[in-house]
Each structure stands twice: as structure tokens, then as C-alpha cells.
């Protein structure tokens, strides 16, 4: 299935079925990351219970330097 991840259309690895697995796939489990799934914020305790489906739009954001 394909999803839109950080604005880019990507073909998702078949093992990735929820947000937890998505973060693991990109090795972001221990990073400071904030997840938005179809415009809804997903908190840490919801990562595993949030399934990813074809056509989903996901944003993975973080803090960067700024004024």
C-alpha cells in the first residue's frame, strides 16, 4: 500500500501495519518525534493501536532551531 509520508508518496513495506512499526522501520523509536495521522495527533500510547491504511497521510515532525 502507498501512503503520503511527510508530503512524499511512498510505497510502504508490508511489515509496517501501525504507527509503532512505522517509527521502528525508520529507526525513530528513541528520537523526539511527534506523529500526526490524517491530521490527528497520535500520542505515544496510541502508536501500536493506530493502524496505517492505504492512502493515509502521516507527518513525522520534530523541533529544529528557530527564533
Amino acid at each position: 500500500m502507498s501512503i503520503k509520508l511527510n508530503g512524499e508518496l511512498i510505497e510502504l513495506n508490508e511489515e509496517v501495519k501501525n504507527v509503532q512499526q512505522l517509527l521502528a522501520f525508520y529507526q525513530l523509536e528513541n528520537r523526539l518525534v511527534i506523529v500526526e495521522h490524517n491530521r490527528e495527533i497520535i500520542l505515544k500510547d496510541q502508536y501500536e493501536s493506530t493502524p496505517i491504511q492505504h492512502g493515509d497521510e502521516i507527518e513525522l515532525v520534530h523541533f529544529v532551531g528557530g527564533g
Binding site: G7, H62, V64
Partner: protein
């Protein structure tokens, strides 16, 4: 002492974290500035490229109050979306509302800033809007219930210093919430001037991060803000048109 909502700070310098030459210099500049509030921006992670170090992950966040901004937003709705993402980090409940209305001057959109501030207050954020130096807009923001007003001294990153000290002093005079001069500060003299006008704090970034020696400039800004504040509290003398001798005019040996 600077008090924003229920938070108390010893330092009146709020420091931005953008555009430092290196993390090492940035860490040292932040430490030397003695700033307690640091601003950040919210951006997409660069997940498709090699993992890059992140300044925040190298920082002992328990020692600082994080003030994320909504930079990148052009509408109130976009600002609210960014603010909520920032808050979901669990690291902060303050937000610098920054809704830009003009790409060239980076001046804030007053209507969207007001709207975003109202929406974020309803969501329970501690709201610090970056605004132009418009006196009436500042009053309208205060009436909404924002926790501090942050008027710009001059366009972001321009280093032009305070272009309209009169407007800033009107805003300072009328405000019951802290007024933090944000954007456009170029030199320690500008920061001191803001504090002498009676500002409660100064938020700056480029003036330190792009200085030849950011660490030294961080110290200079800290001292300038302290000096300006002390000068304000001490009360400057009135300006006069003509000279008034400091030495006694009696008992001169030349007459």
C-alpha cells in the same frame, strides 16, 4: 524577575536556537547567555536522509522552558495545527504565535495572529503572540487574554534595532502583561534600549547566532539586558537643551 502566566524566570533574555555555526558554539552561547527560555521551530523530520543530530536532543530540557513558534504558518488554522503538534511533544505548554503575512518583510499578519491567539487560548495554551508594534493590536491581544505581548523592534533577522521606540513605549505603558521585544535586535545597544524603554524582556536569535563570536555576543546581550533593566529601574534623568555643570560653580580658583 520575569513572570509569564504562572512561570517565573530570573533571566529577561529569551534566546532563539536557529542558524548557529555549530552545535558546540550553540551550546556554549546558550549556557553563557543564562537564558531560561529557548525558542524552537516545528518541522518535518528528514526521514529519507541520513539521521542528523538534533540540538534539542543534546540539551538538558529539564533546565529550560521551551517556547516553540508557529513559524511557517500563514493562517490561524495552520498556527493552531503547529502549536498542537508542539504541545504533543509533552515538553511545553507555551507557544509563540507567529503568523507571517508578508514573505519579503516577514511582518506578522495582524488579523490571523489575533485569530490564532484566541483559538490557542481556548485550547489552554500559554500564548505569546509575535506582533507588529501596533499599539491598538497589542491592546486587542491583551483583551483576549494572551500571557505576554511580543512586538517586533524591526523585521526578523534585519538587525535594524528599534525603529519605533514611541510605539513600543506606548505598548509597554498600557500593558498589564509582560512585553517582550522580539525580532530585529542587532546589537547590545538595541537590547539595552528595549529594556530602558521598560520592556520586560527581549527575544533575539540572529544577533547572537550570526555574530562573529556568538558566545561572546551571548554574554554581551545578557549584560546589556541587565544594564538596560537596571537603568530603567534607576530612572534616567530628563533631557535638557543646555549644559548644566556637574562641578560646583562656587569657589573656582580661576576667578
Amino acid at each position: 524577575m520575569l513572570k509569564i502566566a504562572d512561570k517565573v524566570f530570573q533571566s529577561r533574555l529569551l534566546l532563539g536556537t536557529g542558524k548557529y555555526p555549530s552545535f558546540e558554539i550553540q551550546k556554549e552561547a546558550v549556557a553563557q547567555s543564562e537564558a531560561e527560555i529557548l525558542t524552537f521551530a516545528v518541522r518535518r523530520m528528514n526521514i529519507f536522509e541520513e539521521s542528523q543530530p538534533n540540538f534539542l536532543e543534546q540539551l538538558d530540557v529539564s533546565k529550560y522552558t521551551l517556547l516553540p513558534n508557529t513559524a511557517g504558518a500563514k493562517t490561524a488554522e495552520e498556527a493552531v495545527r503547529i502549536a498542537k503538534l508542539a504541545k504533543a511533544s509533552g515538553l511545553c505548554d507555551m507557544i509563540k504565535v507567529e503568523v507571517i503575512g508578508c514573505d519579503r518583510s516577514l511582518l506578522p499578519d495582524p488579523v490571523e495572529t489575533l485569530k490564532a491567539s484566541e483559538m490557542l487560548l481556548e485550547e489552554g495554551f500559554i500564548v505569546l503572540p509575535y506582533t507588529s508594534d501596533d499599539v491598538v493590536l497589542a491592546r486587542r491581544l491583551e483583551e483576549l487574554g494572551v500571557h505576554a505581548i511580543m512586538p517586533g523592534a524591526s523585521p526578523i533577522g534585519s538587525g535594524q534595532g528599534i525603529l519605533n521606540p514611541l510605539n513600543l513605549s506606548f505598548i509597554i505603558e498600557q500593558s498589564k502583561v509582560p512585553v517582550i521585544i522580539d525580532a530585529g535586535i542587532g546589537s547590545p545597544a538595541d537590547a539595552a534600549q528595549a529594556m530602558e524603554l521598560g520592556a520586560d524582556g527581549v527575544l533575539l536569535n540572529t544577533a547572537v547566532s550570526a555574530a562573529k563570536d556568538p558566545v561572546k555576543m551571548a554574554v554581551a546581550m545578557k549584560l546589556a539586558i541587565e544594564a538596560g533593566r537596571l537603568g530603567y529601574e534607576a530612572g534616567r534623568i530628563a533631557k535638557k537643551d543646555y549644559a548644566i555643570a556637574s562641578s560646583p560653580t562656587e569657589g573656582m580658583i580661576t576667578t
